[in-house]
């Protein structure tokens, strides 16, 4: 937007230009500083700060909503709801946890609420590890190495993720896709670190099993 160049002398223009460059910067520190400033300005009702926060987090939130609902329209609807709630409540954000964690907690609550409304079973958060016989460390392993075979394409993976139970899927998305640590996931989902680890392990096992079923015949049994 070349036309905007002449407005850069204005305070708003300068801030926008700085935020834009900071958004593109690879430095996490700069991003964090920009985000902190944006949060403060958002608390004062600054529209450009809201836009900055939206652009920073829209992919992760939308991706989470999309995988949890399996429907683009519904995912957009849910994304909108998450951001609206987040912006309305931004004044209550005290910085005790990372902003993204705080926002994901909101998103997860809304996603779970939506799934419950639809009558979909979620998962018991207090389920101790290894109690479910179905997940009791099935000692199976495929003969073919998935990575060496290059067998996991995007469509297959998407389908397998959709086939996971909602709870497993959520932990898998938060940990393995979004990169949250178990402590953060426990904070987001209101469960223990042990439960987060357990759910993730089951999710991975199930996912692998689904991918193998999709591609390969009966797997070899481990000792």
């Amino acid at each position: 937007m070349q036309l905007l160049g002449i407005f850069q002398a204005s305070e708003t223009g300068r801030a926008d230009a700085t935020w834009q460059s900071e958004l593109n910067s690879s430095s996490q520190d700069v991003r964090n500083a920009a985000e902190t400033r944006a949060i403060e300005r958002a608390k004062q009702g600054d529209g450009s700060a809201f836009e900055f926060l939206y652009n920073t987090h829209k992919r992760r939130i939308y991706s989470l909503c999309l995988r949890m609902t399996g429907n683009r329209e519904e995912a957009e609807d849910l994304t909108q709801e998450v951001f609206l709630q987040m912006f309305r409540k931004v004044g209550t954000f005290r910085g005790e946890s990372a902003f993204s964690t705080w926002m994901h907690r909101l998103a997860v609550n809304l996603v779970l609420m939506r799934l419950r409304k639809k009558g979909l079973a979620t998962f018991p958060l207090d389920e101790p590890a290894g109690q479910n016989p179905e997940d009791s460390r099935v000692r199976e392993l495929g003969v073919v190495d998935l990575s060496l075979a290059g067998s996991v394409d995007r469509v297959t993976l998407e389908r397998a993720i959709q086939a996971l139970p909602a709870g497993y899927r959520l932990v898998f998305l938060l940990h393995d896709v979004e990169g949250y640590e178990h402590g953060e996931i426990a904070g987001i989902m209101g469960c223990s670190v042990g439960n987060s680890k357990s759910q993730l392990h089951k999710a991975r096992m199930k996912l692998r099993e689904l991918l193998q079923m999709d591609r390969f015949p009966a797997p070899e049994t481990r000792k």
């Binding site: 070349q2 036309l3 160049g5 002449i6 407005f7 002398a9 204005s10 708003t12 004062q44 009702g45 600054d46 529209g47 809201f50 836009e51 939206y54 652009n55 829209k58 992919r59 992760r60 939308y62 991706s63 999309l66 995988r67 957009e76 994304t79 909108q80 951001f83 609206l84 912006f87 309305r88 460390r137 000692r139 392993l141 495929g142 190495d145 998935l146 990575s147 060496l148 996991v152 995007r154 993976l157 998407e158 993720i161 898998f172 998305l173 393995d176 896709v177 979004e178 990169g179 680890k197 357990s198 993730l200 392990h201 991975r204 996912l207 692998r208 991918l211 070899e220 481990r222 000792k223």
Partner: protein, 218 residues
């Protein structure tokens, strides 16, 4: 260590950290566990690679912003007002500075066009292009050909001394207008009329520059 023990211990290992020696030894000696780890790692990498590519439609932010504005969460910038805003006749006082800027723009435009015609005998274009259309070009040229006002002053030095003051005054006026309009825009970024005025002023500055260049060519 058997495979089951390996699997239990492996769950506790944080991502991106090396496996403890005893796990690493088992992994190296057990092809099944080695493959198991490779599979899970591959799934994770592929998921991270593909699943964050999606993004919501372009319209979504517009919808969110509209809703936030309706709710009063996004606050539109307020005009700076003072005691005079309480008096109906003076309520528009904050815009007086804008009025002055507009007047300056028109006077300046008139002055520059007259100068242009007087010295070059070239009639000014009867229908100038819309400001929004030409502004990018003007801005480009202004950015590329002028480095600040230094270039202006360098050219002015080549003009006969008796004609120089009028150019200096014009340049000062155009710079004042740009400053005032920018100030106003900082407080009222949504004011499209001001933006158009700003484009016009930049055009005038560009025309002033052209006139100076023609002087040099003479």
């Amino acid at each position: 260590m058997n495979c089951e023990e390996f699997e239990v211990a492996w769950q506790e290992v944080e991502e991106n950290k090396p496996l403890p020696t005893y796990l690493e030894m088992h992994r190296q000696t057990c092809p099944l566990c080695s493959q198991w780890v490779a599979d899970l790692d591959h799934i994770r990498r592929q998921a991270r690679r593909w699943l964050l590519l999606d993004q919501p439609s372009e319209q979504l932010w517009g919808q969110i912003r509209n809703q936030l504005q309706q709710d009063g969460v996004i606050k539109t910038p307020r005009m700076r007002t003072g005691w005079f805003s309480e008096i109906p006749l003076l309520a528009g006082f904050p815009r007086w500075s804008m009025g002055m800027a507009y007047a300056a723009v028109f006077l300046l435009a008139f002055g520059v066009v007259s100068l242009h015609n007087f010295f070059t005998n070239v009639p000014s274009p009867p229908h100038p292009a819309p400001p929004a259309m030409v502004s990018a070009e003007v801005l480009n040229q202004a950015n590329s050909t002028l480095s600040g006002d230094q270039a202006f002053h360098q050219l002015m030095e080549k003009i006969p001394a008796e004609n120089r003051p009028i150019y200096e005054t014009s340049l000062q006026q155009v710079n004042n207008s740009i400053y005032q309009l920018n100030q106003f825009l900082a407080a009222h970024p949504e004011d499209l009329f001001t933006r158009e005025q700003l484009f016009t002023v930049y055009e005038q500055k560009h025309r002033l520059w052209e006139t100076l260049v023609q002087w040099e060519e003479f």
